[in-house]
């Protein structure tokens, strides 16, 4: 597993439930907590 602690976060563009894009850079100047869910069901 690649440990990225101390390194730049992986850039992403992911879409929300209504299709709106979310980019890593949208969260600049904030702490960002990504909670990776297991299966939703």
């Amino acid at each position: 597993m690649q440990n990225r602690v101390g390194k730049p976060a992986v850039p992403f563009v992911l879409y929300g439930v209504l299709g709106q894009p979310h980019r890593l850079e949208d969260y600049r100047d904030h702490w960002l907590l990504l909670v990776f869910h297991r299966h939703l069901g």
């Binding site: 597993m1 690649q2 440990n3 990225r4 602690v5 101390g6 390194k7 730049p8 976060a9 992986v10 992403f12 992911l14 879409y15 929300g16 439930v17 979310h22 890593l24 850079e25 969260y27 600049r28 100047d29 904030h30 702490w31 960002l32 907590l33 990504l34 909670v35 990776f36 869910h37 297991r38 299966h39 939703l40 069901g41």
Partner: protein
């Protein structure tokens, strides 16, 4: 269910999250009706982002769990506890082997915490997630 418990615990610290300028995004690999139902049923107020290809999951080392990690004693113990508290078991709707985790990124875009759960119930403590942000209190 353990993921929902983790999110529930985070919600209980919502005021601290706001005070520390922490934004939360939940990432899922599921899509379609399952996603909409989840947001509705859990009244999730944070963004739920779809990583259908699991690109970001893999980039942060969240792969498939082993049989022992997914169905072993620690997992059984967690589910029994949740059942005892009145939570209901649900039939899984998708890939139950995909591992989850938490990644905390600072305002300059640097990863401070990268935590991959080894099993369904393995999540960092909320205090662990908040610790790097102490200077923002």
């Amino acid at each position: 269910m353990p993921c929902q418990e983790h999110l529930s615990q985070l919600r209980q610290h919502n005021r601290q999250l706001e005070e520390r300028n922490i934004k939360v995004c939940v990432v899922t690999f599921d899509s379609g009706p399952l996603v909409m139902a989840y947001v509705r049923d859990t009244q999730l107020t944070w963004p739920l982002l779809v990583d259908h290809e699991r690109t970001l999951y893999q980039a942060y080392g969240m792969h498939q769990g082993t049989w022992w990690n997914l169905y072993g004693p620690s997992t059984i113990g967690v589910y029994l506890k949740l059942l005892w508290r009145g939570r209901r078991l649900q039939r899984p709707g998708s890939d139950v082997h995909q591992l989850g985790g938490d990644v905390l990124i600072d305002p300059e875009g640097i990863v401070n915490i990268q935590y991959t759960g080894v099993g369904p119930a393995d999540r960092p403590k909320i205090s662990t997630l908040l610790e790097p942000t102490d200077s923002w209190k």
